[in-house]
């Protein structure tokens, strides 16, 4: 078991039929999907920050596979380049230098940021465009750019600050977990490129088991607070971290301690408010019609015209 390596298969040479698609959707933004006939095994990407050497091969592989290019960046005093996720850069190595107060060691905490593929995706809840955000039963949350209208509600919905709206086509972009690669039996491009197997991909169960071994190893090396980051606030994620300081996730460039969809988003998107406002609108319209019919139109009489004219003639007196 200890030697278990998540070696991803070589790319297929023959035509392959995608192993999942429309029929496997369990959630679809602003619309309903029928209960899928089968349930796919949940997949996950596990990022072990303790094995990461900060080489950025994952970033390059991500750009390469998604056919994106980013402009040559500037050195802003950090290895984090570009400065932030962009509509073209779906994953970003965030570097943080931290002095451990217990050991006085300078620790270089590197975290590969990107979409966490939440089991309860806030982006999907917030999205108003039917089918622009979908969730497959294997856990992948994907954006359908043909249906995206560019409103930015997914940005408000996401508890991890991940989606970015393109200034070119005004559509939202984020990591797809390489859904197109996974559908043909490949792992994500970043996992494929990672030279230290800090990024591994498999079923969520396998990844949890692998994480356990890694945590055991880290603990034996003195990282007593090592642990798995699979936040329950969003019902777990399909991108998980092994953190050597799991008790302080914020150290890793602001990884949220207890992420959840904001209650404000729940109120905004809540069915209660929706139906209440619809009912109130209908009640007002019906009330107006009833009032009109019951009281009768409040018009003026010929006598009023007479009196009004007289008043005008008398110059208001």
């Amino acid at each position: 078991m200890a030697n278990f390596e998540f070696v991803l298969p070589p790319p297929p040479t023959a035509n392959v039929t995608p192993s999942f698609g429309e029929a496997d959707l369990i959630r679809r933004s602003a619309s309903h999907v029928p209960e899928p006939a089968r349930k796919l095994t949940e997949v996950a990407k596990l990022i072990d920050v303790s094995k990461c050497i900060g080489c950025k091969a994952c970033q390059v592989a991500c750009l390469e596979w998604n056919d994106k290019r980013i402009p040559v960046g500037e050195n802003l005093g950090s290895y984090t380049i570009p400065e932030d996720l962009t509509p073209d850069m779906f994953t970003l190595m965030r570097f943080n230098e931290w002095v451990n107060p217990q050991t006085q060691d300078l620790e270089w905490l590197i975290r590969k940021d990107g979409c966490m593929h939440c089991a309860d995706p806030g982006c999907l809840e917030a999205c108003p465009a039917p089918g622009a955000i979908v969730q497959y039963s294997n856990g992948i949350v994907d954006f359908d750019h043909d249906k995206c209208i560019g409103c930015g509600y997914c940005v408000e919905g996401c508890p991890f600050n991940i989606p970015r709206i393109s200034k070119v086509d005004h559509k939202a972009y984020k990591c797809t977990l390489c859904s197109d690669r996974i559908a043909v039996g490949q792992g994500p491009a970043c996992a494929k490129a990672c030279p230290t197997h800090a990024i591994v991909f498999g079923t969520k169960e396998e990844m949890k088991q692998h994480a356990e071994e890694r945590i055991k190893d880290l603990k034996s090396r003195g990282f007593t607070n090592a642990g798995l980051y699979d936040p329950p606030g969003v019902n777990g994620t399909h991108v998980m971290y092994v953190l050597n300081h799991a008790d302080q996730p914020e150290l890793y460039s602001g990884l949220p301690r207890d992420p959840a969809i904001s209650p404000i988003v729940h109120i905004w998107k809540g069915a209660v408010k929706r139906y209440a406002s619809l009912a109130a609108m209908a009640a007002l319209v019906i009330g107006a019609i009833v009032h009109h019919v019951a009281v009768g139109p409040n018009g003026n009489t010929a006598e009023d015209e007479e009196k009004g004219r007289e008043l005008l003639d008398r110059k208001g007196r």
Binding site: P128, D304, K315
Partner: protein
């Protein structure tokens, strides 16, 4: 009724700039309500088709909002002097039953606008300020970097709640126009009959007759 012949005098009520501003605001409001509701109710998303699809609806909505704010500024500027509240307005509001029953003989004589109209002018002004401010915050194409995402979450919630209130107000506004025949022409030809003014806005008619308005 058609056989009843009597001379009808007309009184000028709304000049051309007010009428243009009113209809720009009205059409903008309707377009904003349709596109806004389409983005609010998933079942109504199809209405974005009226604008050429979801993307164009998303693009147009804030710009139509700007048109509404500009036209309403004109309206508000021309109306505000006639929309200050007085003692008679309290009497009017207290006797809401008489108002709703059309028993205007039980109400004090009304100036250019009654208390309901004044409330509408002020109410919409407040709602539009809130809608415009929250709308700018969530106008991603230009202003996404000016505020934190948490602020944007509050803004999008406030925007949808306030928009609902504005739609409720709008429904009542339209109802009052249809309930009182002879009102709509004030915003089309700009004139009302002396009889209409005598019944609904007698104090204003006196002022007009005396050449004071």
């Amino acid at each position: 009724m058609a056989a009843e012949h009597y001379a009808v005098s007309t009184v000028k009520r709304h000049p051309i700039d007010v009428r243009i501003a009113h209809w720009v605001a009205a059409i903008s409001f309707i377009l904003l309500a349709i596109s806004g509701l389409a983005l609010f109710f998933p079942g109504f998303f199809f209405a974005t088709g009226l604008f050429g699809g979801g993307e164009t609806a998303r693009f147009l909505h804030p710009w139509i909002g700007v048109a509404l704010v500009v036209s309403y500024l004109v309206l508000f500027g021309r109306f505000v002097a006639s929309c200050l509240f007085g003692r008679d307005d309290i009497t009017w509001m207290v006797r809401a039953t008489d108002v709703m029953s059309g028993r205007e003989e039980n109400l004090p004589e009304i100036g250019k606008f009654n208390a309901g109209q004044k409330l509408y002018v002020w109410g919409m002004a407040i709602l539009f300020v809130l809608l415009f401010a929250s709308g700018l915050i969530i106008w991603h194409a230009y202003f996404s970097t000016f505020t934190s995402i948490e602020v944007q979450r509050y803004a999008v919630l406030i925007h949808s709640l306030v928009a609902m209130l504005a739609i409720f107000g709008f429904i009542i506004h339209v109802h009052m126009v249809t309930w009182e025949p002879g009102t709509l022409r004030a915003m089309i030809s700009g004139t009302v009959t002396a009889g209409w003014a005598f019944k609904h806005h007698r104090k204003w008619l006196r002022e007009v007759a005396a050449g004071r308005n």
